[in-house]
């Protein structure tokens, strides 16, 4: 090879002098981004979440080309997409099930962070931005669920927007402002469509911040100890390849739902057009909200119920300080591991409670589950950090990895 630069290299250099975007990408997610070598498959879910966001944005853009945000036409336009638009059924089912899979992936991503202590110093801001992304996702999903204008769309919108009427004094004015009228109606649907289209791009912005905040301290790892340069390998090609493999497996599962069980996660009632004069007998939110819905219902006071529901998410912002342990990874915290699993089971029970009609013993179970949920963060996490004796940490990732390789 001659030392002469090829014309392509020269063109690239010329461009990089003016806008160094290639090297910026290389530093962000390429060969110049060092990552601990010992990440396990639980670390795949961040890239999967990004993939799902892309799926949602692209399928959504094409759905919007055929959707009509008007109370008399919205339901019909969705059926038009399902029946007449070429591949409309596929795009809609990908979008509708995509929301569920996006949440599944993000929930696993969050649980991974909670188990391995990825929220602990110096990654608190990274954790916060992640929680903001989660909140924005919840809002986006709620707005999107209203758009098909089925019975559950309408009554879900009514119940959720009415949350704000709990605010003393100005609550009712706020609800009227949100509705643009005196009930959920056409102005509501129209603005929900506008905001549903906007919020995903807010999420894209937050993801940039999330990745930026990730690059300052670098990625955590299953051992939870700080990685030295010798412990790291470049993101490209190693983790890109691993993410591609994880993505392919995930896509098989996602497609199985889209092609064979497209309505399994939805509510049958939402194939009935919205009727403002008839409330369905049993209003349930989508599965990803159920634990929070259970917390809301477990407290027999409107304002306190709402405070508890929002508090259940807001308390996560304080988790980096509520967890007083010096050790990050749950692998070295034998007692924490047990309580972590119990907490996950508690959330699953709350999710189940949220899907049941609030009769008989259900509200009591919900109340106990709610108390445990908050107790886990407010009591167990701080106390555990003081009383638990962690297992000895390895001196370095390399040492641990090499010992395992022997």
């Amino acid at each position: 090879m001659s030392t002469e630069k090829s014309i392509w290299k020269k063109a690239l250099d010329w461009h990089e002098e003016r806008l160094p975007i290639i090297s910026w990408i290389d530093h962000s997610l390429g060969t110049k981004y060092p990552v601990p070598r010992n990440l396990n498959y639980w670390w795949n879910f961040g890239s999967l979440a990004m993939f799902m966001l892309a799926v949602m944005i692209f399928s959504g853009i094409f759905l919007a080309m055929n959707y009509t945000p008007h109370v008399t036409l919205a339901f019909d336009s969705v059926e038009h997409i399902m029946r007449d638009v070429n591949y409309g059924w596929l795009i809609r089912y990908m979008h509708a099930n995509g929301a569920s899979f996006f949440f599944m992936v993000v929930y696993i991503h969050i649980l991974r962070g909670m188990y391995y202590g990825s929220y602990k110093a110096p990654r608190e801001v990274l954790w916060w931005i992640g929680l903001l992304i989660y909140l924005a996702m919840m809002a986006t999903a709620f707005l999107g669920y209203v758009l098909p204008w089925g019975q559950m769309s309408f009554w879900g919108a009514t119940v959720i927007t009415s949350f704000f009427s709990a605010i003393p004094g100005i609550g009712d004015s706020i609800v009227t402002l949100l509705w643009g009228g005196f009930s959920v109606d056409n102005p509501t649907l129209n603005r929900f469509f506008s905001l549903h289209y906007l919020l995903p791009f807010v999420i894209v912005g937050l993801i940039f911040l999330h990745i930026w905040a990730l690059h300052v301290p670098g990625a955590n790892n299953p051992l939870g100890i700080d990685a030295t340069p010798a412990d790291k390998i470049p993101f490209f090609p190693y983790y890109v390849m691993k993410d591609v493999f994880g993505l392919a497996v995930f896509v098989v599962i996602y497609f199985t739902a889209v092609f064979w069980f497209p309505n399994a996660l939805g509510e049958a009632v939402n194939y009935v057009k919205a009727n403002p004069l008839q409330t369905p007998e049993h209003i349930v939110p989508e599965w990803y909200y159920l634990p929070f819905y259970a917390i809301l219902r477990s407290i027999p006071n409107k304002l306190l119920g709402i405070i508890a529901m929002f508090g259940a998410i807001l308390i996560l912002f304080a988790l980096p300080w509520l967890d007083t342990s010096r050790v990050r990874s749950g692998n070295f915290r034998p007692v924490f591991r047990i309580f972590f699993v119990v907490w996950v089971i508690d959330v699953l029970i709350l999710g189940w409670v949220g899907a049941q009609p609030p009769e008989g013993i259900i509200p009591t179970i919900g109340l106990i589950g709610t108390l445990w949920y908050f107790g886990h963060f407010a009591v167990i996490m701080p106390v555990l950090g003081w009383v638990e004796t962690p297992k000895p940490l390895p001196a370095s990732i390399s040492q641990s990895v090499l010992k395992a390789a022997e």
Binding site: L39, W89, K242, V244, F245, A248, V269, Q278, E281, A405
Partner: protein, 252 residues
């Protein structure tokens, strides 16, 4: 007492939507040609089911999202669809004189509704609104199994159950009191192809037809799904092998 009231409510609100009934009735699973990874519709069954809809259901129930052109998917030719459409009249207009007029339906027309509006439909049916059937098998918990068993689920009310006037007792309807009387009986239609026309077969055929109406792209979904998923599976295997090779000399 509360339970009876709840039952009555569910019955009264015929359109109703109750995903969760006051009590849970187990709906038996049926075998359908469209079940399974590559399930397809049985064209002959769909045609029979359409005949049942036309002769029995369409007196009260609309099929709003279906156009005549869609019936080509049932195995009818373009000519047959044209002839079929021409049996119906639809309103069009206004013409040059500003009048609305009736004309023969074309394949691109939607199926005409049995009642001009919901108020008329309610008035003609003792206050109960016969729901549109285009999405029926997707709009109820239990799907096609529910619709099939509902059509056959008429029984004498158990002792102690007081039926509201005009209501029938149905084992599978949430709350058990339904405004629709029993429609699917032995021999209610005679099929051109000589297929059995006892109540169970008729109910099965019309339910299959309704499931086609609710999910007309089901066959495309299944066949596309198989190809796409197989492609992704092979890609996953390749990606796994490539990943393993790349990481071979990296202790991790």
């Amino acid at each position: 007492m509360k339970k009876i009231l709840l039952a009555a409510t569910a019955a009264f609100t015929f359109t109703a939507v109750s995903a969760q009934a006051a009590e849970h009735v187990e709906i038996p699973k049926e075998k359908w040609s469209f079940d399974g990874v590559l399930g397809t519709f049985d064209r002959a069954q769909l045609q029979r089911g359409f005949q049942v809809y036309k002769d029995v259901c369409s007196a009260c129930h609309s099929l709003n999202y279906i156009s005549f052109r869609n019936f080509e998917a049932l195995g009818y030719s373009e000519e047959q669809v044209k002839t079929l459409a021409a049996e119906y009249e639809v309103q069009d207009g206004p013409n040059d004189e500003g009048d609305m007029f009736k004309r023969k339906a074309k394949p691109s027309d939607r199926l005409p509704k049995p009642f001009a509006n919901d108020a008329l439909a309610r008035m003609s049916n003792g206050g109960a609104l016969p729901p549109d059937l285009s999405l029926m098998t997707k709009a109820r918990e239990g799907g096609p199994d529910y619709v099939y068993h509902l059509l056959l689920g008429y029984e004498e009310p158990p002792a102690g159950v007081q039926l509201v006037t005009g209501m029938s007792y149905n084992k599978y309807f949430p709350g058990h009191q339904i405004a629709m009387t029993k429609q699917i009986t032995d021999g209610v239609v005679t099929f051109a192809d000589g297929s059995p026309n006892d109540a169970a077969h008729v109910a099965k055929d019309v339910t299959a037809f309704l499931h086609w109406a609710a999910e007309p792209k089901l066959e495309a979904r299944h066949s596309t799904g198989l190809r796409v998923t197989l492609y992704a599976l092979i890609f996953a295997v390749l990606a796994f092998l490539a990943k393993r090779r790349m990481w071979k000399n990296i202790p991790h």
